[in-house]
Amino acid sequence: MFNLRKLWQSSGGLHLTDYHKEQSTQQPVRKLSAASAPELVIPLQQHSGHKPKIIVKAGDWVYKGQCLAEAEGIISVPVHASTSGKIQAIEERPIAHPSGLNDVCVILIPDGQDNWGDQRLAPIENYTEASAASLCERVREAGIVGLGGAVFPSAIKLDIPTPVQLTTLVLNGAECEPYITCDDMLMREQAREIITGCLIMLRALHEHAPADGLTCLIGIEDNKPQAIQAMQVAAQQAKDSRIKIVPVPTQYPTGGERQLIHILTGREVPSSGRPTDIGVLCHNVATARAIYQAIVLGQPLISRYVTVTGKGVVQPQNFDVPIGLNMQTLIQAAGGYTSKAKRLVMGGSMMGVALPTDQIPVVKATNCLWVSEQVAETTPLPCIRCGRCAEACPVHLLPQQLYWHARARNLEKVEQHHIFDCIECGCCAYVCPSHIPLVDYYRYAKADIYVQREAREKADLARERHDFHQERLERAKREKAEKLAKHKEASQTKTNPSDDKQAAIQAALERAKVKKAQQAVASPTTTEDKPA
């Protein structure tokens, strides 16, 4: 239901003049077939957490949706085959990483059948009565992770410890970053599925809800009127008064989890805490739709909406892309590169990751491929402390002071200035008139602090060990000395009894002498008797 809610103004952030979203929203989303792809490269590690354990081997033939690797450890999700086909190899391939790192991938050659076989999960149709545990288990089983970019396993977020009480479920449809439109298109086209996913989540959380039920706020930036409208219609059809569509002001980075929660509820997530600490849980709209697919259709997460945009592609648009599809194939589907293509970014223009090559598979985290033109590099000037960065910071940090201390590698001061609250949204670097790459300094400082902490822990451990070793040596020495002392003492106390012994011997000898003497006195008689 759409009603006017009070929103909490958040200071900081950017009001950009152009979000470059129109280019890629002109045509409906095109579904790309996994079956016709020459090969699919499916990395095992597509989520934050532990790497899943591979359960297939090269040469195996798999159905669509079949589990390729199962979750290992708590923070882990399985990975599934995006289509049916033969596993050609399990080997290291380049993954979406700025340094072009390799990781273990399953190389799947589609057979063109797109055959589910018996691998579709059993749909849970009466999800309104299903137990929370069964819903969470299914979400985990389907390999669902946060599709907003953090790719954290969704089941863990849904599986809340018993005593925690929630008031609000926030669904993030803000999509604040320039160029990205995949959630916009998803809300326009799949609003009903998102709302159903939302109802499933509300069911999964019902044990933590207050007596009058959870409120579900779906925050959408007001530069997406069509998405807002589609979602409103779907919410009305669902006839559930808990769900409210809330247009929020367009202001980067409203889509940050903590920022959106503040705007919608007026409450701040504690600095080192989680949203559940203030009774709020936040999921992305695309995650809600993936949950719908897993519960109602029995489909694991094997495809996602991806925006392909920028001046470097011929026909910017959105695609429904099977996981594992080569990025170059995806760009080709959008008409290929233009002559301006100079940089390939996975994500948006504020927080995306620039990739060295397009020979990389699309993964669960791939929300957007932005191919940009050449940008003239500006030489940074010194910081003039103008404070625009502080005005733009949505977390209310002092980027100018952080920069100053990070540059001087004064890590203690950097931590005092709350560097770990920095969300690396890039607002500071965007407004900096001196064109200083501020976020780079913060990333570097954070890494530096981690390294130092680790070194300190290692040193502490080494010192502890050394101290223990020293103590052990000393104890051994002490014990030895004590033992020796005891022994000595013992041997001394033993000399007294030996004296007694000698005395006894002496006494015995004396007695023997006396006896002998007595015998000597008496013997003549006996000797005398003998001859007789």
Binding site: S349, A354, L381, P382, A390, H418
Partner: protein, 344 residues
């Protein structure tokens, strides 16, 4: 296909340091034009000499420090310093006075500390304070507004005064500033009302000064509107100065000038909007800015009323520049999701 990699963000606002400084310069134009109206050629000679020396010294220091010259000259920070000193010094100042001021500003105040962004003290005020203590006579005798306008003094007379100096008739054309007049006459036992009857006083604080201050105010408000400066520093400075003045004026209006006099007189408005707002040497947190500028306002009043110099913006700014690292360290804003200073 291979691509270049760098790190996010990949977008940038169009503005650079040069554009920021350029807007400060635009905002200085109205005040400068009013000065020109009242004081004629002397304002132009001041400006030309100020800008010339500033750019020359900046280029020289960049060369000596082996820094790229063009990128730093085009950040226009040297132009701002030169311009500020040119309008702060009395019109028709001799060339050597401007040169000495700018050597102190550019060489000692700025580049010996590491150039743009690294100077703890406001360079223009370092230059101003140095010549104010060294050449008090030249610095406190301003030309009389009516007598030195373009109609009364022609270019060659102006050049003669500036380049060769000391024409004997010149003394007749100068007068003490209103702040100075008040100070000396109060010492003679006169009351503020009596002194204000003098011909140098306009409605509030001296004929030309009212108009000049209004023009600085217009430029300053435009800078706030353009978000080049924030409101914190100018308004905290004026509030503190006016507050101090109000207290003492209420106690004894015969010996203490009105708050309005202090706001309009001297270099208050220029200082509040253009000098104290120099971002490099000012505090950088919102609360820090208020404390910093409040301190400047208080010190300005104290030095004006009880010190031996008639105007005090320069000294007050330099004093508070010293407090900036401390202010910045203790006035961090409350970060999202954390408890504030008082556990709130």
């Amino acid at each position: 296909m291979m691509f270049g990699t760098n790190t996010s963000p990949y977008m940038h606002a169009p503005q650079g340091v040069g554009q920021v400084m350029a807007q400060v310069i635009y905002a200085l134009v109205p005040g400068t034009l009013v000065l020109l109206w009242f004081f004629g050629w002397g304002v132009i000679t001041n400006l030309l000499l100020g800008l010339g020396f500033a750019l020359l010294l900046e280029a020289l220091m960049l060369k000596l420090r082996q820094r790229p010259i063009l990128p730093f000259l085009t950040d226009y920070s040297a132009v701002v310093t030169g311009w500020l000193l040119a309008v702060a010094l009395p019109p028709y100042s001799p060339w050597w006075l401007l040169l000495i001021a700018l050597i102190f500003a550019m060489v000692i105040g700025k580049h010996l500390y590491g150039g743009l962004g690294y100077n703890p003290f406001n360079p223009a005020m370092v230059g101003y304070a140095a010549i104010l203590v060294s050449f008090p006579v030249e610095m406190t005798s301003w030309p009389a507004p009516e007598l030195t306008s373009i109609a009364n003094i022609n270019l060659s007379e102006a050049l003669q005064q500036v380049l060769l100096g000391g024409a004997s008739t010149w003394d007749g054309l100068t007068q003490a500033t209103t702040l100075d007049t008040i100070k000396t006459h109060l010492r003679l036992g006169e009351t503020v009302e009596q002194i204000s009857q003098g011909q140098a006083f306009g409605w509030i604080a001296g004929q030309a000064w009212e108009w000049v201050s209004l023009a600085w105010l217009a430029g300053g408000l435009w800078l706030i509107y353009r978000k080049i400066i924030s409101w914190h520093i100018p308004f905290a400075l004026m509030a503190a100065l006016a507050g101090m003045a109000l207290i003492f004026w209420l106690i004894n209006p015969h010996t203490y000038s009105s708050p309005l006099f202090h706001l309009v007189g001297g270099a208050t408005i220029l200082g509040a909007f253009f000098i104290a707002t120099d971002p490099v040497s000012a505090s950088t947190t919102p609360l820090g800015k208020i404390l910093y500028a409040g301190g400047i306002g208080c010190f300005t009043y104290i030095i004006r009323v009880w010190g031996s110099y008639p105007d005090a913006i320069a000294f007050a700014v330099l004093i508070m520049n010293m407090a900036v690292p401390l202010l910045d360290a203790y006035t961090q804003p409350r970060v999202y999701g954390t408890k504030g200073r008082f556990g709130l």
